[in-house]
Symmetry: C2
Subunit: 714 residues, 2 copies
């Protein structure tokens, strides 16, 4: 069922309604009345007859008319019973305020499980528990208790009531924007992030979705929904709980599991989500993206009435990867005519006092600058909006005219304009006019610049979206029964680890190069294998009971004689048995010695929130010391595999450094796709480790591979 009937509810039962003004059950009804909710309100409390003029019901089931949503304000332990009551009445949705569930540990978790079971039984969709509530500003359906929230087109989806309060306060103090819906997601026991997202994607009133997330229960489906959404409307997201301590607090807050922070962030960005690091930037970025056109070419002009602000802005924009190109000669010539000789006209444009007597010159300059084809957007920094206040009242009128001209210029050129003004928080009339035209104004240079940065980033994303192919190869559909057999065999033997030859075989079934290794059960077979392989070989122990082969003396390298192979076989067996006398020894893997190439590492693991995740990096010091690796949520496309390889800092080494031959990137990409396919095809796999993989100028070899299965009770 969709969430429409809940989020657009026209009748609300308040369970735990009260005549005591300090109780949430009183405040909830008071708020609905104060905010002008036009739907029906049904207080429910067995000990009251009337509350705030409404008839009070003993239970939800007693209400005669249909009820869209039950706002439940009673304590945790009462919830299962209340939900049963709602279920009997056929209420489609419940908002559960109480904390004391999954966020508090085991006992809370089992209570949470119980309410989900009751909800499923009756087909009730549950928001929360541990939520601050929901708001629908269009219908004045306010189940939160935040007053005076301005109505507008930004949907708020958060895991913290206080953050919602912060964002709404900012909206009021610093913008002309407002809220369409607010949802406090709470513990996500039933309705999950991706479902709200889908609702907001379809809602015509919502132009941008602002999210505060500590952890997600189904990151994978959220990403899929986000990928669809971000081409239609922007999602702006702050992910917290990344520090260990942060995690602890997030854990006790919403009971969500905070996942691999970097992986999440990367996955969010690739789904087109604008990830914000700094909570101060969250609302401004949403404000900016919800209305302004994007920047198409990452090139911006800065217009300033003072060098310091211009210099700082140029620094910040450059750090954000924004170009500040020199203006076209003609543009410079025109600006020169308008401005004093001490002005700078290249970009940043510093008017050097040229606007002191006439702030209208800002608009003259802006018109010329935005005519310049190389310029995709404009950032104005300094004192605009305060000339009237600071210098002479008459200048304020000129500023107002300038604001109108700026607004029309934005509409005409369809290039975004963002203002920094020292007077932003004073809301002078010229600045309010700018905001009316959807030109955002901030008193923080950092925030104004950040908004310019995201306009460029989001522009890039939208441009690249249609060029992208996200298909996944599927070499292995036919091979899957064979693969399943390898896994079943391990399961039958009670193992969760595949032996090296099994892992390599599984990989090769899905597109990795066929291993040349030969399994030799006896010394004679080892000798035969040595002759088949021709050249130097290595022997490695094969035993389900020995995971760390080196430790057990289970590896002999660089053997090039028959007698050497024989001796090695016997020694390995001896070593293994003295390491673990009861080990089930299946023989040795005879592998050709590898030539020198570039060592890389590929691994996967299963993340709680996002499922299988792949890691790639150059071997040796690059991974061990410098942690120079790239990550993706699986599955990956061919393009993603390519980017994973290219985005490591050490990529130049693989690409042929100091005259060394380059590695075979095509084969490497193919191997990454094989690993991706494997992880998708066999959900039983918990993690994989291909370490090392030797990449040559042509081809590559997986020298060692480990695959670990999920425990059976997972």
């Amino acid at each position: 069922m969709g969430l429409e009937r809940i989020l657009d509810a026209e009748s609300v039962a308040v369970v735990g309604a009260s005549n005591n003004e300090t109780k949430r059950g009183y405040q909830a009804i008071r708020t609905l009345l104060d905010e002008g909710f036009e739907g029906k309100i049904y207080p429910v409390n067995p000990r009251e007859d009337r509350i705030l003029g409404f008839k009070c019901y003993r239970k939800v089931a007693d209400i005669e008319d249909p009820v869209d949503v039950a706002l439940i304000t009673t304590p945790a332990k009462t919830i299962p019973g209340v939900l049963e009551d709602c279920g009997r009445k056929g209420v489609p949705g419940a908002v559960i305020i109480a904390g004391g569930f999954g966020e508090l540990g085991r006992e809370g978790r089992s209570l949470e499980k119980e309410i989900v079971e009751v909800a499923r039984k009756f087909g009730i969709r549950v928001i929360g528990p541990n939520t601050s509530g929901i708001m629908n500003l269009k219908k004045s359906l306010n189940l939160v208790g935040l007053h005076d929230t301005p109505r507008g087109d930004i949907a708020l989806l958060t895991q913290s009531g206080n953050m919602a309060l912060t964002l709404i306060t900012e909206a009021k103090l610093k913008s002309h924007k407002g809220i369409s819906y607010y949802v406090g997601v709470g513990n996500e026991a039933d309705v999950k992030f991706h479902e709200y997202l889908e609702f907001f994607r379809r809602d015509p009133e919502t132009k941008a979705i602002l999210m505060y997330v500590e952890g997600m229960r189904d990151g994978r489906r959220f990403l899929q929904q986000a990928y669809k959404t971000t081409t239609e409307k922007p999602i702006i997201l702050l992910k917290s709980g990344r520090s260990t301590t942060g995690k602890k607090s997030a854990g006790s807050h919403t009971g969500a599991l905070a996942g691999l922070s970097e992986v999440a962030k990367g996955a969010f960005k690739r789904a087109g989500i604008v990830v914000v690091e700094n909570s101060d930037e969250l609302f401004p970025v949403a404000e900016t993206l919800s209305t302004l056109p994007t920047i198409k070419n990452r090139s911006v002009a800065i217009l300033a009435d003072g060098g310091g602000h211009a210099t700082i802005a140029a620094d910040i924009l450059t750090d954000l990867g924004i170009e500040i190109p020199e203006l076209h000669e003609k543009t410079q010539a025109k600006l020169k005519k308008m401005l004093p000789f001490t002005a700078s006209v290249r970009n940043p444009v510093d008017v050097a006092g040229g606007t002191d007597a006439d702030p209208g010159i800002f608009a003259d300059c802006a018109e010329e600058i935005l005519k310049d084809h190389h310029i995709g957007g404009l950032l104005v920094v300094g004192l605009f909006g305060g000339y009237g206040k600071r210098f002479a009242e008459s200048l304020g009128l000129v500023e107002e005219d300038t604001a109108h001209r700026m607004g029309k210029l934005l509409r005409k050129r369809k290039k975004p304009i963002v203002f920094h003004s020292l007077y932003a928080s004073e809301k002078t009339h010229p600045l309010e006019l700018l905001r009316y035209y959807n030109i955002p104004v901030y008193d923080s240079l950092d925030i104004a610049c950040k908004c310019v940065g995201v306009l460029a980033d989001y522009g890039d994303y939208l441009k690249s979206y249609h060029a992208r192919t996200n298909f996944v190869l599927n070499w292995g559909e036919k091979a899957k029964p064979w693969g399943k057999r390898i896994i079943s065999k391990a399961r039958e033997e009670g193992r969760t680890v595949l032996m090296e030859h099994e892992a390599k075989r599984l990989l090769s079934l899905h597109g990795a190069p066929h291993p040349q290794d030969i399994l030799a059960r006896t010394e004679e077979e080892a000798v035969k294998a040595f002759h088949v392989l021709k050249g130097r070989v290595a022997l490695k122990i094969v035993s389900p009971d020995i995971l760390h082969k080196t430790e057990a003396g289970g590896i002999k390298l660089d053997l090039n004689t028959e007698s050497g192979v024989r001796k090695a076989f016997r020694e390995i067996k001896g070593n293994a048995l003295s390491f673990n006398p009861s080990a089930d020894i299946r023989g040795c893997l005879v592998c050709p010695m590898s030539d020198d190439g570039t060592e890389v590492i590929i691994g996967t693991k299963t993340d709680d929130q996002f499922g299988p995740v792949i890691m790639y990096g150059l071997g040796g010091v690059m991974v061990e010391i410098l942690k120079d690796v790239s990550f993706r949520v699986l599955p990956i496309s061919s393009k993603s595999a390519e980017r994973m390889i290219e985005e490591t800092k050490s990529y130049p080494i693989l690409n042929g450094f100091r005259g060394r031959p380059p590695g075979d990137k095509k084969s490497l990409r193919r191997l990454l796709l094989a690993v991706s396919e494997l992880a998708e095809a066999y959900p039983e796999i918990q993690e994989m480790d291909l370490n090392p993989v030797m990449v040559y100028e042509r081809g590559l070899r997986v020298l060692d591979a480990r695959i670990i299965l999920k425990k059976n009770d997972d």
Copy 2:
């Protein structure tokens, strides 16, 4: 001369005074009157008789009484004449507002030079040109035109008038703090940053120094002065102009040369300066450091009335390297008693509604938390200060009491308390009380956390300061005459590059290992050298005309027979002559082949602002691809040399990675000190390049060295 008579001036001549209200020469006098300056004011303008009631003088020299400072508001080209006039009168200081000097290119530079010459001739100290002016709040000496600046204990030293305006506006809007002095540094033509800094260091009224810097003319002396200052009072600094475009704008703004940004930042930090990256943080950090005690152990507690704010704060603090340790069991037990069962008491402490009915519980919690010996400071986040406004007026009174208790707690425990409050900008009475007790309150979580971070960083700096030794070894005092001879010889031959053997000899004079290399002028000498060195050798061309030896075929490696050496000597000579027929060939350097070790690179260059700077890094991909290097301004202490080695990301490789023998760090440190000494001892050196240096388990070898001298006209 000190700057007292200028910055504390009791008589001001305003040159270019005017009766026209739009002129700076009118506004300057108006401002002095409005602000209540009690000293003497002397308007100077040959075309006026009286201005604002004051007698107007034709020239400065006509003024009967002594004049401390001349504020010159006339255009650039008039300045030399005006300064002559001031000189004849014996005025000790001048503040020059006009732009149009060094910041505008060659012509401006020569005009700037001219005014410096006039100033020197008469002993006038010049502030600016291209300055917004100066202010002394104690004496109401306001030569800027910024009104209503609150008086206090923070000195502002900036290169941008607009940034000063921004900072003063913030002071007014967001704090209880004010300004002691303001100096617009301008082009630093005469008085430089370090001189102002010394003045503020001595000024008893100034408790913190806040700087905005785009570029410095004498970074070296500034660092020396800063090093002295920061143990007495904090310096908070924002350095901009780091991006190329930023540099362009900074260049046209104050004519200062923006230097190596990373080097500068590192040098600032090591001098104890608190370097701020984000302009929004500048004033809050100064406010915090000017009054609060530092955090002694980097361990902080977070006290919150909502999980979201706590989680975000924990993330930011963790990123800043702050510990958020679990509170002591006893503390937790006490908090548990005060708070509802859903509260979190480990740290962050989330009161979970426990303060809703009584915000005084914040103070109860804070008292317990700051008793905990492991906790060095407290960050309170959330809605405090708004309970009265948001919930019930009576709670506002409880909040006031809580603020008093918090203030007393700060005084008692001497551990800093910082507040984040959603209501910070509304200046509610409880929040104003906190500010009265010097507890800062911010509405930005990021800024509140940043302030906590710098309290810990500055605490660390002060702790480490007294433990530091900054002595510099001086092996080479006696060797200096020998070294000077090597350099003179090169100079005599008209060279700016030392040949490899000269460079190596110079290094060894100052503590680098003696090179075993032998200069062989003839084939016979080369053979002799080969026998002396015993073992494999390399031959390298020695010629002042051949800088790139490999390119000229001037290197032969791995020679281990007499005939091989002979052949190599002849071939090298032949190659060199066909490369450059007129080359002056001095012979070959016979060098023992080096064993395998860890390759490192050491270099120096001369920075425009900070003089000689040293770079160190591991050779190969680490430098070439990953740019993994460390920098210091020279000279360096033994401790600095050690840190330079240890702070590279690739340090573990040198320290013995994967069973490899570690490199000889003691010898490496000694070599860095030798290079440091060299750069100090011979100011003629422009840059050095020791590449590669091979570091062994014991000892090291400089395999190649290049030293370039400054051009003679430098």
